[in-house]
Amino acid sequence: MIYIAIIIGCIIGALIGINAPVIPYTYSTFLAIAVVAALDSVFGGITSVLKKNFDLVIFISGFFCNSLLSIALTYLGQKLNLDIYLAALVVFVGRMFTNLTIIRRYYIEKWTVKLEEKRKSMGQ
């Protein structure tokens, strides 16, 4: 159910995006960092659903806070001529990998348990 919603959401978003106007080049870095923040939020959301502690308020506020902070950092970095957004990028991508690990473990465990049960039933 959740994965179907994600896929449908991706398709709708891509269709809207293709027909949307182009943004100025200066802001493309901000958009890129916001995209990474959104990606991180989606991964975090899936993980929390699997852990059964999904909270709507935390999820949405987390997304907005993360994107705003990373955009602010990018802006500050442009002013200081220092690529601070790389730090935000490292954090987001690192967390994405951690979340992916949790998702992977969850499904592998589920799969192993299923396999085990099957084997037991076959043995009987």
Binding site: M1, I2, I6, I16, A20, V22, Y25, S41, D83
Partner: protein, 241 residues
């Protein structure tokens, strides 16, 4: 928290996500380069893009204004014979000056550099294998000789003030840089214009002795469209007597 709400929220998030990705891809594609981390370079690039956008907008506005002027003119001259005559005179004059888009029968000539001969096996002057400004000038002269009524090179209309000049590895027509392949469109009597393809003509010379890629095509369905001259014609010193 039920599953429906969760999947709705995640789906919405994915809409935002893929929307952002699509817009980003479009932006980067439009710029034609990968993301640069150099802020100064980005600023310059942005300035160029902004100027281009502004120019495009202004040009669009100008075109809108011109069509508006056109409709106003036809509206106001509709019921007056004398004014209609004057209007037609203006239209005819603009056609001759190259200030209006024209369409009709004619030919399309495509001239391109020779890219098949490797320079390592070519012992003569490599300039021989490239289209030069003088070649374009000669072709345009030949076209004028056979009564071409309107000529354009890569979308640049040839008018009375047009110059065809060498500008390094490109050619400048009307002050605009154009590069190979050169598509020369001419409107006139097609059979006559096809005379350019005669044995011993300049196109024959380009094809057989200079080894350039020359292609000539007759169009007799009135679908050659030659754009109007977009520059400004200034006459400050010449006075009509």
């Amino acid at each position: 928290m039920n599953k429906k709400t969760i999947s709705l929220v995640l789906g919405l998030m994915c809409v935002v996500l893929s929307f952002g990705i699509a817009v980003q891809i479009k932006t980067i594609n439009g710029t034609g380069t990968t993301i640069s981390t150099n802020t100064r370079e980005n600023e310059l690039r942005d300035a160029v893009l902004k100027a281009k956008e502004k120019y495009d907008n202004l040009y669009k506005k100008l075109e809108d204004m011109e069509t508006q002027l056109e409709t106003e003119r036809t509206n106001s001259t509709q019921n007056n014979d004398e004014l209609t005559k004057l209007e037609n005179t203006i239209k005819g004059g603009n056609k001759i000056l190259g200030l209006s888009e024209v369409k009709g029968n004619g030919i399309v000539i495509t001239v391109d550099d020779n890219q098949n001969i490797a320079l390592s096996s070519w012992y003569a002057d490599p300039n021989w294998l490239i289209v030069h400004d003088i070649d374009i000038i000669n072709i345009v002269n030949e076209l004028k000789n056979v009564d071409a009524e309107a000529i354009s090179i890569n979308g640049q209309r040839i008018v009375s003030t047009s110059a065809i000049e060498c500008d390094g590895n490109v050619i400048k027509v009307n002050g605009q840089k154009i590069g190979a392949p050169f598509v020369i469109k001419a409107i006139g009597y097609p059979e006559l214009l096809m005379g350019l393809d005669r044995f011993g003509g300049y196109l024959d010379y380009l094809r057989d002795e200079r080894f350039l890629n020359v292609d000539i095509e007759k169009v007799d369905k009135e679908d050659i469209i030659i754009p109007k001259y977009t520059g400004v014609m200034k006459f400050e010193y010449a006075e009509s007597k």
